[in-house]
Amino acid sequence: MRGELLATRGRVIAIAAVLVFASVSPLFVDEFSVLVLNQCLIWGVLALSLDLMLGYTGMASLGHAAYFGTGAYATAIMSATYGASFGEAFLVALIAAAVVTAICALVALRASDVYFLMITFALAMLIWGLAYRWDSMTGGENGIAGIDRPLIMEDTITYYYFTLVVAAGVFLFFSVLVHSCFGKTMVGIRESESRMRALGYNVWLHKFIIYMISGIFSGLAGFLWVYYNSYVAPTDVELVTSFNALLMVSLGGPGTLAGPLLGSTIFVILDNSVNMFTERSLTVVGCIYIVVVLFAPEGIMGFIKQLRTKVGETDNG
């Protein structure tokens, strides 16, 4: 009981520390750093949504760019083409992400394991194909430019704080979710689907709901991204985006909530700084993929956990 309390207290302190850091640091750094932090938060939301499926439920999706992209494009189309307000764009983005996720989930949930990977991958290509070619709607290769934030959020720092509030909200909701009744069923499905069925769970329905949550929140990340970048293009929906999201989760530590945030932070900072030091940024990112897979399959959080157990052992002994 004491240990549990201690762990909870440690966690609360950690979260508070990160929050304080995240809310205070923009006041001391230049605008670009705020922009980078803002990116960390947006990709963090995407990585968190993916982790809900990948780490908690054991469903590895190779196509999360599709839901991210749907949210992003819906926002851009509403805002730039139809002149919708921030709120309207928000609603439509989430609804569009939900609809697309639902359709994809219906198809993808017929498969499992490596076939699931393959199908989510294929579905993401389909969405990319639409973004790329459905010119009259998406602007095709041109993308959609000129998406303006509402005046009160015009400012970089204000938008950063808006994103921070949203991301913190998502984090809070997810941490309640993974500890809830439903959250336990996610882990149950990861551990043994057949047992869950035998116990009376409609495993398909649970997976569908998780897929939906994950897809809608990915769409939310897309929404945030478009207002951040004021621009959306097919490259936002491409395969590499899906892979980067997976890398962020794997790098930070799947099955944890801190992991995806940590992973996205590291990835974004690297992505924005590596080319200052070397022309060979492709090789650097490629090697990160390889190293994470080979040497840190549980990500940084897994590594920290291991380290902690070791430290704990020597403490006791």
């Binding site: 309640v176 979710l177 500890h179 809830s180 009744c181 439903f182 959250g183 336990k184 069923t185 882990v187 149950g188 551990e191 043994s192 057949s194 047992r195 869950m196 069925r197 035998a198 116990l199 009376g200 769970y201 409609n202 495993v203 709901i209």
Partner: protein
């Protein structure tokens, strides 16, 4: 004919009724045309050598496999095509021959997951299971009964096989099923552990119907009233256990001594 006789004798309706059930895998006939009637409160065993089709038959009743032909009725309702999880809502529960738990969760979480399986609250995204008093109590009660409460915070994969088998049963029992399907409940247990499980099963509510696949003859004889013997996917004997034991063919192929 025989079915009618069964129904007549107790005056109670059949709990589980299987008609002409069969399953083919490619050219392989795993189960062929099996009929079975289990009455309310009856304890029925299914025995047979490995590969006789017992587990396939069992999985078709539990809903994990779709039969190639035939029908399964539970309390008069046709459940042949009903998905597994819906059968549970009709009061069916099962255990697995090869331990099938949530290995990285604690014992308590394992049982809690089972305890909330039939509750609406399983969809609650804001409250923890533990905050649902009645679910927690259900789990606590069942774990107390099986002397598992002390190890509630241990991670399942770290436990011995014996304990895992007990948790296997605990998960099936915590929802108070009306029909319990047990797939070799004592598989891999020492005689002492095995005896414990047997006495545990014997103490269960007499109204609970049980269908047990067993390899261990002693366990089967102690637990059931009637036995069905399967071989090569077919039923070769079905009836009161003593009668079956005396059956020549059964002796020959199953018991392995003349």
């Amino acid at each position: 004919m025989e079915q009618e006789a069964h129904q007549g004798s107790n005056g109670s309706a059949a709990c589980l009724k299987v008609e002409g059930l069969g399953k083919h895998f490619g050219g392989l006939v795993a189960v062929n045309n099996v009929d079975l009637v289990v009455e309310n409160g009856e304890r029925r065993g299914i025995i047979g050598p490995n590969g006789a089709g017992k587990t396939t038959f069992f999985n078709m009743i539990a809903g994990e496999l779709d039969p190639t032909h035939g029908k399964v009725h539970l309390y008069g309702e046709d459940i042949t095509r009903l998905p597994t999880h819906q059968r549970t809502h009709l009061g069916m529960a099962r255990t697995f021959q090869i331990t099938n738990l949530f290995p990285n969760l604690s014992v308590l979480d394992n049982v809690l997951l089972a305890a909330q399986a039939l509750e609406k609250s399983k969809f609650s995204m804001l409250r923890t299971i533990k905050s649902h008093r009645h679910i927690y109590q259900k789990a606590e009660e069942m774990m107390g009964k099986l002397n598992l409460w002390d190890m509630k915070n241990l991670i399942v994969k770290d436990l011995s096989h014996g304990y895992q088998r007990q948790i296997e049963i605990a998960l099936a029992l915590v929802e108070n099923p009306k029909v319990l399907l047990l797939d070799e409940p004592t598989a891999g247990l020492s005689p002492a552990e095995s005896a414990e499980v047997v006495s545990l099963l014997k103490e269960l509510d007499a109204e609970m119907t049980m269908l047990i696949i067993e390899h261990d003859m002693d366990v089967a004889f102690e637990l059931v009233d009637k036995l069905m013997v399967m071989h090569e996917g077919e039923v070769i004997a079905d009836g009161p256990k003593e009668e079956v034991r005396a059956n020549q063919t059964v002796q020959e192929i199953y018991l392995g001594h003349d």
